[in-house]
Amino acid sequence: MKEVMDSQEIKRSLARIAYEILEKNKGVDNLALIGIRTRGVYLAERLAKIIGKLEGITPPLGTIDITLYRDDFQEIIDQPQARGTDIMFDVTGVNIILVDDVLFTGRTVRAAIDVIIDFGRPKTIQLAILVDRGRRELPIHADYIGKEIQTKPNEFVELFVKEEDGEDKVVVMKKNEKR
């Protein structure tokens, strides 16, 4: 297990991403954050908090579960439980910041975009990612990136968060050391 980001780095990356989001979208108007379950949700919450502190207004927050939109339904043996999507605001005409921890093949993001579009027609969907590990299988890119790292196909990149794991860090693991 190799640590690639510690809690300070994660904190600074999120702060920078928050500034970049505000710069690109010219403030908090018409902005909403949507985290992809499960780790993306924690990051979206933190980004919303930082933006709220900077601007005085906290943008609406949603969560997405992509289980029902996967393209490998017929291949995976142990189906994860579908935990539901919560988007309690109208997405039509809104600039949506989609938040996830790790960008890899791009298939999760593809599914998440489909989920959002089933709720309406956003003005834009932008992607914020803490770690881009490369090896894309779809033409998808992130608009805001915490850190880019090089990885092998058989490695896992995992985000640990205070809320669930007691500490914040990003690690690269080999297949057999998966937690």
Binding site: Q74, R83, T85
Partner: protein, 311 residues
């Protein structure tokens, strides 16, 4: 997680954990039904056959809606238009359906155990949509789902099922499900419509309506199945209504916190008065909406178990 069997034949052979898993999965599908686009691409490429050997409108429609909202392909097959009327046996019909490479079969049949027979002979997952007077598991599940919306804790909840228990597959599935989740179940109806020995299922039996429903949280009314009364089980509809019909006066005997349920279709003026059917404690239409979500969950969980096994 994940269920032990890809089939849903009845609630008798499901554990409490399995029932809760289906109900929890249904929650995410219920949310989808409130969205502008009430459809998810989950079961693309999966084919579901609806085999209805017995008339049904709402269950078949509910299943079909659930299948379409999951993006599966749907084929319908009903007794009146099928070759059953030309004398084909159940087994031959089923082998033909199998040859068409269907993944899930939803079946209603008048013979108890027909889906069990089917499940042993085909590769597809079988979902029982009602077999004779035996079980109607998806109705049982949608009833449990609806009760949990109002009473999150079923332990010790007082549920009374009133009416024709003898001919009711709904009652049987409800009793299995409610008992497994810890509810306190009582039955009430004329002695001719309550099967002997049903107490063995872990229920109390009453023939006096007022005693049965006193302090109940859930009043579950069954349809008096007019087509099954030729055997002379009740002297007259009028007498049944007088002794077992529910009107607003009767509701006063219930607990302060109660709901009224009915699997439909209702005989207004027989087992339930107009006022009760339309009162704000009646959750009958909510049951119908929840039915689609619960059936989506059942199909989704069954489908998630078929593919890996085939590979």
């Amino acid at each position: 997680m994940s269920l032990k069997s890809k089939h849903l034949l009845g609630l008798e052979d499901k554990t409490k954990g399995e029932i809760l898993e289906i109900l929890d999965t249904a929650k995410s599908f219920r949310k989808i039904l409130d969205r502008p686009v009430r459809k998810v691409p989950t079961l693309r490429g999966i084919t579901v056959a609806n085999l209805f050997f017995e008339a049904s409108t709402r269950t078949r429609t509910s299943f079909e809606l659930a299948e379409k909202r999951l993006s599966s392909e749907v084929v319908n097959f009903s007794a009146s238009t099928s070759s059953l009327s030309k004398g084909e046996s159940l087994r031959d019909t089923v082998e033909n359906i199998e040859a068409m490479q269907v993944d899930i079969v939803v079946m209603r049949h008048s013979a108890p155990g027909a889906p069990h027979f089917l499940s042993k002979r085909i590769k597809a997952a079988v979902v029982n949509a009602g077999d004779g007077t035996h079980e109607h598991p998806t109705q049982g599940l949608l009833d449990l789902y609806t009760i949990r919306e109002y009473f999150p804790k079923l332990e010790g909840l007082k549920v009374v099922i009133v009416g024709d228990i003898k001919h009711s597959r709904v009652a049987r599935s409800d009793i299995w499900g409610l008992n497994k989740l810890g509810a306190d179940v009582a039955l009430c109806g004329p002695p001719t419509l309550i099967p002997l020995g049903i107490e063995k299922m872990g229920v109390k039996v009453y023939h006096d309506l007022d005693k049965a429903i006193k302090g109940a949280n859930v009043l579950y009314l069954l349809r008096l199945q007019l087509e099954r009364q030729k055997g002379g089980f009740i002297p007259s509809l009028r007498e049944y209504t007088q002794l077992f019909g529910i009107n607003s006066e009767k509701l006063k005997l219930l607990s302060d916190d109660y709901i009224v349920m009915h699997p439909g279709p209702m005989n207004r003026g027989v087992e339930i008065t107009q006022e009760v059917a339309d009162c704000d404690r009646a959750v009958i239409l909510r049951q119908v909406t929840n039915g689609v979500a619960v059936r989506m969950a059942v199909l989704y969980l069954s489908a998630s178990l078929i593919r890996p096994l085939e590979k």
